[in-house]
Point group: C2
Chain length 222, copies 2
């Protein structure tokens, strides 16, 4: 009964999980095809297979949802991905914008023993280099109270704890303006015209950020 999945199958589960996070409703074939950059018929094929393996519940034409089992596997992939990202940054000194592709490969290495030892070796970190929470061995995720930077009230202070967009372009932009996880910020102003914001940093520097940028930064009350 060892439902060992192929790398392709695993990637579908991860994509469906990611979409479930962002949407309340069932996930459509096209959603998955767009996310994975493949053609819709390929997705239809795979959904049939994953339904047979009880990884998803699938009503033809009406979208899919992960089963308990499918969710379990998706979380274990996310766990592996994020732990490897911590390894790459903490131990091998990779920058936070360089780790995604390598972790994408490493997450498919099959060995529970390996990943549990890796976790211990890393000191059981709770968050990855982008501030995303790391599920524990049972798939449980620690949730943290966090809001988007643009949601701060005037003069409210907070700490940057995560980013929504984890693409290299956005991360390198944050590097260039010296914002990183742990940076303390204070909301100074929301520009009425286009919702740009002005924040103040601990070195008294003031910074103007577009609405889009501010939406992609997560903060926790300081």
């Amino acid at each position: 009964m060892d439902h060992s999945l192929s790398i392709a199958e695993e990637n579908y589960l991860k994509a469906i999980q990611k979409l479930s996070d962002a949407q309340i409703h069932k996930i459509s074939t096209n959603d998955i095809a767009n996310m994975m950059n493949i053609a819709a018929p390929s997705v239809s094929d795979m959904l049939k297979k994953l339904a047979q393996k009880k990884m998803i519940s699938y009503e033809k034409y009406y979208g899919v949802k992960l089963t308990k089992q499918g969710e379990q596997i998706a979380f274990s992939l996310i766990r592996k991905h994020r732990l490897w990202e911590v390894f790459l940054t903490q131990k091998l000194n990779f920058a936070w914008d360089e780790v995604h592709d390598i972790a994408e490969q490493l997450e498919h290495i099959k060995s529970d023993d390996l990943i549990n030892r890796l976790e211990k070796f890393l000191g059981s970190p709770k968050y990855d280099p982008h501030g995303d929470p790391i599920p524990d061995a049972k798939g449980q995720i620690q949730v943290r109270k966090q809001i988007q930077l643009n949601e701060l009230k005037k003069n409210e202070k907070a700490v940057i704890v995560g980013v929504k967009d984890t693409g290299a372009v956005f991360l390198q932009f944050l590097d260039s303006i010296q914002l990183s996880l742990g940076t303390k910020v204070q909301m100074k102003n929301v520009i009425e015209f286009d919702q740009s914001i002005i924040i103040k940093l601990s070195d008294n520097r003031e910074l103007m950020l577009s609405h889009l940028v501010s939406q992609n930064i997560f903060v926790s009350p300081a």
Copy 2:
């Protein structure tokens, strides 16, 4: 010109390399099929493909040999495999009989940057947990003067530096009689009847080993 090979192709190159190490002559289709536990026609197919990619020189019916390029890739795979084995034992506390299968997966992760950083992180080790030498970034292998344990002359002293058979069964057997890399031994006697040997350890313990066992242990003069 990025000749990125599939995992299957990489495994063929590794198998051919391993066979080249053990044989002087060209490698036959059957040799490869036996080593990889697959049918001969599958090998024939793949050899055609690898020849097209200039990874091997291949004369139909007369066996194969790695090209410079193919050898380069084979060595880089061996380098990755052995560095990951060091990581697993040194950092994650795996035993030397537990690392092979996981390293077999890790060796196919594609990133030169990753493996070079890993090497640095591990302190540029020269040997893996079984005493096999680790090729450097250019594919150069450090050769060490070593002989089989059974070749020691009477009363000669030496240190165990490697094993030929790296299977879990043999390694666990060595564990059970408390022989490991670094153990100092002295040859006491070669039994005429069946070439069994008697060695003396630093704690004065005397141990009798079969010819086959002694052939699978590499030593260097102390």
